[in-house]
Symmetry: C2
Subunit: 456 residues, 2 copies
């Protein structure tokens, strides 16, 4: 992919709309658009100005009345010369305009190629570029906030700063290498250790934030399980406040898993209703139970529901112990409290697992249940400006950097030779640099930007 190419793409979603935008970026953008645009002399026009006119093809047939938005390098999204052509939102028109420029040798942009150019031209770092894709994909307030924060700086700034401090040390240590046999130390080992402690502490914070970050970005998978007729589907409906799952009084009504999105204070919970766990009476039911087990295995939160009028504390404990994955967050819901209001929830208590008493039918305590779900994920109030990592690639790089820094520390402890310490520092710098893209490979860029949409 050449930065010197002029590239073009439709930047608006496919389909019929009022407006459709074509984006053309690269050294020939102005010359070519000006040639086919009647209405203003774009070559002489200022950056950040708008011009009304007609795009016509090679035969001077008018294709559309449109606006051109001019952005001159370097003051544009990509850093290149860019023109955006705002056409009527007809696929035919957009295609016809694009084809004019393709015939002039302009190349169709690949997914994310505009943003990749922005990165390569230094308009944003790699983690900011990734946030652009996250922002476009965001569908809840918290996912949006996370993406915006990352796009506007996020972890990049702090990591770049720490990395620069580490680079300064690396330079000093490498200088020591030049002196070979002489036993000089330009780099203060104690200060280096302190810096590394600081960096590792920051890395640990970031790694700890990943669970939350990932939950915010992907939604939190939450499985509702329990014995037949415990009221799981009624509970799902109460949470969603709509009649989504089929509810009957016949045990075993829910045979397939049902997935719904519940938004609690901006965090998406992907709720999975399941078939009741019991000895299956027929093959269809057996498959349902199997899927329930599978759903629990892949979910972050298990909501175990039981009917307070039907089941002993021992049964509840057996069920939870057999269903729960290791380290899985669990909420226990004592349902149908309306039928037996004097039930003491304490007697069902297992370890520290919270128990919530509800009557799903009467929507009793449903808001409290929602609140409890939220707290399982967001344990404390998220600080407005706290930094949260939501990207698996960043986690990998942070873990690698942390391992390299650990090697540096133990190298210092064991008085290993300068060159090994220098190597480990370089390794840590490499991994930290991967996050912001100061270090990158073509393969990495391909894998990041190929997930973008066309035109971005």
């Amino acid at each position: 992919m050449l930065l010197s190419d002029t590239i073009i793409a439709i930047a608006t979603p496919p389909g019929v709309g009022a407006l459709g935008i074509i984006r053309i970026a690269g050294p020939k953008a102005f010359e070519l658009v000006d040639h086919f645009f009647i209405g203003a002399d774009l070559l002489k026009a200022d950056s950040h100005t708008i011009h009304f006119g007609v795009i016509q093809n090679e035969d001077e047939d008018p294709i559309d009345e449109c606006l051109t938005f001019l952005f001159r390098a370097p003051n544009s999204y990509t850093g290149d010369d860019i023109i955006e052509i705002s056409c009527h939102g007809s696929s035919y028109v957009l295609q016809a305009v694009i084809e004019i420029f393709l015939r002039q040798g302009v190349r169709l942009a690949k997914p994310g190629e505009f943003t990749m150019r922005a990165f390569l031209n230094g308009k944003m770092d790699l983690s900011q570029a990734e946030a652009v894709a996250d922002l476009i994909a965001s569908d809840s307030k918290s996912a949006h906030d996370l993406a915006i924060r990352q796009m506007r700086g996020g972890i990049s700034e702090e990591i770049s700063k720490l990395r620069q401090e580490l680079i300064d040390f690396a330079a000093l240590i490498e200088l020591e290498l030049d002196f070979g046999e002489e036993d000089v130390e330009f780099a203060d080992r104690k200060k280096l250790q302190e810096l590394i402690y600081k960096i590792r502490k920051y890395i640990q914070q970031l790694l700890q934030s990943f669970q939350l970050g990932n939950a915010i970005k992907q939604g939190v998978s939450t499985v509702i399980a329990g014995r037949p007729n415990a009221g799981k589907s009624t509970l799902l409906n109460a949470l969603l406040n709509e009649e989504r799952a089929i509810v009957t009084e016949i045990p075993g009504t829910t045979r397939d898993t049902v997935e719904e999105i519940l938004n609690i204070k901006g965090v998406s919970f992907r709720l999975i209703d399941t078939a009741g766990i019991r000895e299956a009476r027929d093959q269809v039911e057996a498959i349902g139970v199997e899927r329930t087990i599978a759903s629990i295995a892949t979910s972050q939160i298990l909501v175990y529901v039981f009917d307070v009028t039907q089941i002993t504390p021992q049964d509840v404990h057996i069920d939870i112990r057999s269903l729960r994955r290791e380290n899985q967050a669990v909420l226990v819901v004592a349902n149908k409290m309306d039928l037996n209001p004097y039930t003491k929830p304490e007697k069902f208590q297992l370890e520290q697992i919270p128990i919530i008493t509800t009557s799903a039918k009467n929507r009793m305590n449903i808001e409290y249940l929602k609140e409890s779900l939220y707290k399982l994920v967001i344990e404390e109030e998220v600080q407005e400006d706290s930094t949260i990592v939501s990207n698996l690639r960043h986690v990998g790089a942070l873990q690698n950097a942390d391992a390299s820094l650990d090697a540096v520390l133990s190298g210092i402890d064991k008085y290993v030779t300068h060159d090994f310490i220098a190597m480990d520092i370089r390794q840590a710098l490499h991994h930290l640099g991967e996050i912001t893209g100061e270090i990158h490979t073509d393969d990495l860029l391909d894998s990041i930007f190929s997930r973008f949409c066309i035109g971005k």
Copy 2:
């Protein structure tokens, strides 16, 4: 719908894309956007300039980094102050931005409301506004060309000119009324007649162009019919150059109708393959034959196909006479010429209906058949600048205007009193004015603009 409201809408198609545009128009557009936009002082900025910044909500949370495109009244699409906000193409972001302004009392625009304002503010006439919707809906070159021509002036200019001439006469005749009993004639009756002849001739041309205009806009419904195993499906595939219909050697393979779009020189033909016409052997086949008859009844062109090795000229004539609708354009295709290359097509000739010899299997003469189909619709070369009417509403108004003008002429012939002539002229002026919108009612505007998309 108040022109003084400030209105807002998403102007790009729904879905995920690189960009999403929000359009806000009306007297408060600048003041409100400026309040929530950090990055430039929009109140002091020039029209037709672009500004980068951040949209934030009432709590100063950043919602998106975006561009604002400024258009100051009257130099905008609607004639109002307009700001277009170019956001990242996430539904969540667009919704969040829109909601900020809705909370400030901005109203969601109705479908076509921006264009309606453009019309009401005199930025375009009604037939041009209608062409905007046609342009957005256009999906073939000729439909696009038609819409662009109408949008850029089309019939409006000529009709406005002729109407103005007629208004001048009407004024003179109404002046005569003021003189009551006195027998004065300010309006030269001969010149009035000449003007009306001229207008009616133009109206006739326009009315004649409608069949073509409508064909271009809607596509030409073309039914392929004939006896079983005449090769209809093979012919359809040959025309489309793909294996669309299921072809076998068993007569009666096609049981349902199949519809495909064939584009010939920019005109869309909606080709309908049908079941073979014959005594049905079972109920499914009977339904197929019934549908064939129904398809023929609603199609503009009948392509009758027969197998030259299987059928007599008498059979061909019987079939065509029984199938053809009155005044329906017909093409006869003598197929399977490869099996009987010495067949003389003349012997199958019925009246002036053109016969084309083909071998659908070998794609022989398929291009010629396409050419013949095209000529059935576009009888002569369409002049680059000829005016074509494609809008049924315009046809109705032209017919009404023509009837009123006819009444004026016969009134002059019969020496009816001035006031009746004046009334008929006013009536003609009214109908001509309906086309360009010089005369309009709220109901008419509602019915036109409600078919637009939101944001246009």
